[in-house]
């Protein structure tokens, strides 16, 4: 039960952090987008030869999906650290 709680708390913390961070980065251009703009200046005639094959989220949903990814990462991290720490005393003895 404790492992689930640790993973859940980690996920919630990451979710809150990413949502707050998303608010402050909403009007900021990402470096990936900036690099695409530079590429467009260097070769204005170049057109991407393939479109994204997977899910293409709406800009408003994108932040939520990034938050979900961060939450999954934090949950996995919290769970793994909790299990690793629980394992340590047994190994020492």
């Amino acid at each position: 039960m404790n492992s689930v709680r640790a993973a859940f708390l980690g996920a919630i913390a990451a979710l809150a952090f990413v949502v707050l961070l998303g608010q402050s980065t909403a009007d900021r251009i990402g470096t990936d987008t900036a690099a695409v703009e530079v590429a467009g200046q260097l070769k204005p005639e170049y057109q991407p030869w393939v479109k994204p094959v997977g899910l293409i989220p709406e800009p408003s949903h994108e932040r939520a999906l990034f938050a979900l990814q961060a939450s999954c990462g934090a949950a996995l991290f919290s769970f793994a650290v909790w299990r690793h720490r629980r394992k340590l005393p047994r190994n020492r003895s």
Binding site: L21, T25, A34, P48, Q69, A70, G73
Partner: protein, 193 residues
């Protein structure tokens, strides 16, 4: 550092995929070996950290945003050869679910995030330890500089695809590097801490 889908010519996609493939095969073998498998919770923690950090868009002083890379810790704990497999899972998830990066540019993104970053982190960490730095400091410096190594590799990849008509590949690399540097240097320092 995610090069968007379709933004590299086909020949470059093939080249970078071919360059990354041996590292991915080697990494999957490494991850399956007993020394790594016996530390599966540490491995899961570094994988979780990689997922978490690559999703964070951190605002920078330049009025833009970027994300940390998070590969240094995995490279220091498990060696750089174990990281490309982890990085591929993260990049594949982002390409398919977030339209961030791409399938055609997976090889190039994997080479910068999964190969250049971890090997740079490991070499810098080992050098810092040999010079007498404390492990925490060595780890911080390796994380910060490996983050810059990832973005330098991406700049070079983009410059090879989009050479400057006047100054060539190096001039173009400087332009892409300048775009990344203003944002990534503060983010890299933060990642180091």
């Amino acid at each position: 550092m995610h090069i968007a889908e379709g933004y590299l010519p086909l020949a470059h996609c093939v080249l970078w995929s071919a360059a990354s493939l041996p590292f991915v095969i080697d990494s999957t073998q490494q991850l399956g070996e007993t020394p790594v498998r016996s530390r599966r919770f540490e491995l899961a923690a570094t994988g979780g950290l990689l997922l978490l950090l690559t999703a964070l868009k951190i605002p920078s002083v330049a009025g833009s945003s970027s994300h940390p890379t998070g590969v240094a810790l995995a490279a220091i704990l498990f060696g750089p050869r174990a990281v490309p497999g982890l990085a591929m899972v993260v990049l594949l998830l982002q390409a398919l679910l977030l339209a961030h990066g791409g399938i055609t540019t997976l090889g190039a993104n994997l080479f910068s995030l999964g190969v250049c970053g971890p090997f740079a982190a490991w070499l810098i960490y080992r050098a810092a330890i040999r010079l007498g730095a404390k492990p925490a400091w060595a780890c911080g410096v390796a994380a910060a500089l490996s983050s810059l190594a990832v973005y330098s590799a991406t700049s070079l990849q983009l410059a090879m695809a989009y050479p400057d008509p006047v100054s060539g590949v190096l001039g173009s690399a400087g332009k892409f590097g300048a775009v990344f540097a203003w944002t990534q240097i503060p983010v890299a320092i933060t990642e180091g801490f």
